[in-house]
């Protein structure tokens, strides 16, 4: 009779997965908090340039977004290859910007209007011509606070 009994089978014990739900929930909460639901679909290619002298936009609800870039793949056949402006959910011409600004202003409370900022999200491959046109329209609409949205990074990454 041996004192040391051989263990039955050499199997490794199963890893305890009881804490797996907790881990997953933690991740879940992180993404739930970080999620911003896109309110409109992007119809243009939008690779932002990088810069390092940037400021954060303070009040997110007081920002008007203007997107500029080449139409994405599914719109290429219809709208061509030239960089275009996207306001809200559709392509727009330069002369529609003033109406867009007026509509945005009307949707905000009166005391908030002076703090409205325009965020220009322009694809880095776009030309300055269209940007200059937009800037002129913004001046006409007296929307003078402007922010060129960029990603944090060195300007050397732009090329």
């Amino acid at each position: 009779m041996s004192k040391f009994k051989k263990k039955k089978g050499g199997d490794l014990p199963a890893v305890n997965t009881a804490s797996l739900p907790d881990i997953v929930f933690m991740l879940l909460f992180f993404f739930m908090v970080a999620t911003v639901m896109r309110d409109n679909t992007q119809m243009v290619e939008n690779k932002l340039p990088s810069a390092d002298q940037i400021e954060k936009l303070e009040k997110k609800n007081l920002v008007m977004h203007i997107l500029v870039g080449k139409p994405s793949k599914q719109y290429k056949a219809q709208y061509g290859d030239e960089a275009r402006i996207q306001l809200n959910d559709k392509f727009a011409e330069v002369n529609e910007i003033q109406a867009f600004i007026a509509a945005e202003r009307a949707s905000k409370r009166e005391e908030e209007v002076p703090f409205l900022t325009t965020a220009l999200k322009v694809d880095k491959e776009a030309n300055m011509g269209i940007v200059t046109d937009i800037k002129q329209e913004l001046r006409k609409a007296n929307a003078l606070k402007l922010n060129y949205t960029t990603i944090q990074g060195d300007v050397a990454n732009n090329n």
Partner: protein
């Protein structure tokens, strides 16, 4: 008869449910990018008076359609732009409108360059064909030049007013931070003073 205890709920599928939710949020998440270079456009004015500005107080930056950079009528690489702009702004060769000399400038005091940071203007002209990425890079370098000078000045002025080891960027951040323990009104005064000493005069030419 023994009391029957309620059977335990099987929580084995909890992880699966959580995973489903997790995957949903993973897919829908877009991290909003909401930072960039802030600029103020000049208001539209019908009758603009022509102000005579001495040529030596203007630092011209031109971008052509082939993404070349022309600074003061000479070709320049982007990486040299910031240093050139700092040198121009910080020259301090003369007096400002009130007849004061720039006692905080550390430049060469060259008589043929800018008189005073108060008078020095950077003029940026671009072509319609210029690419946006170059334009942003140039804007970034020029704003960087101003920030460099302001940071340097902040490290000089700050300790006199009781704000040690804080450059201009940090001052701005602290002035906005509600939880910052120091005297924010006093800090804002320092910020305004520095902004006045190195005012951002960046004008854009529109053809």
């Amino acid at each position: 008869m023994a009391k029957r205890s309620a059977p335990e709920v099987n929580a084995g599928s909890m992880a699966d449910i959580a995973f489903l939710l997790l995957i949903f949020f993973l897919v829908t998440t877009t991290m909003e990018k909401d930072s960039g270079i802030s600029r103020k456009l000049p208001p539209m004015e019908e009758n603009e008076d022509d102000v005579v500005i001495k040529q030596k107080n203007i630092f011209t930056v031109k971008l052509n359609g082939r993404d070349q950079l022309l600074v003061e009528d000479e070709l320049m690489e982007l990486k040299d732009l910031r240093a050139a702009a700092v040198e121009f702004l910080d020259n301090g060769g003369g007096e400002n409108a009130d007849g004061q000399k720039c006692d905080y400038c550390k430049g060469k005091k060259d008589a043929s360059s800018s008189d005073h940071p108060d008078k020095a203007i950077i003029s940026l002209a671009n072509n319609r064909e210029t690419s946006y990425k170059l334009y942003i890079s140039v804007q970034n370098e020029l704003v960087g030049a101003y920030n460099e000078l302001r940071n340097r000045r902040a490290l000089e002025v700050g300790p006199q007013k009781g704000f040690n080891d804080m450059n201009f960027t940090e001052m701005n951040k602290n002035a906005k931070d509600v939880n910052w323990p120091g005297n924010r009104d006093k800090l804002k005064e320092v910020i305004d003073q520095i902004k006045k000493e190195y005012p951002q005069k960046l004008s854009e030419v529109i053809e």
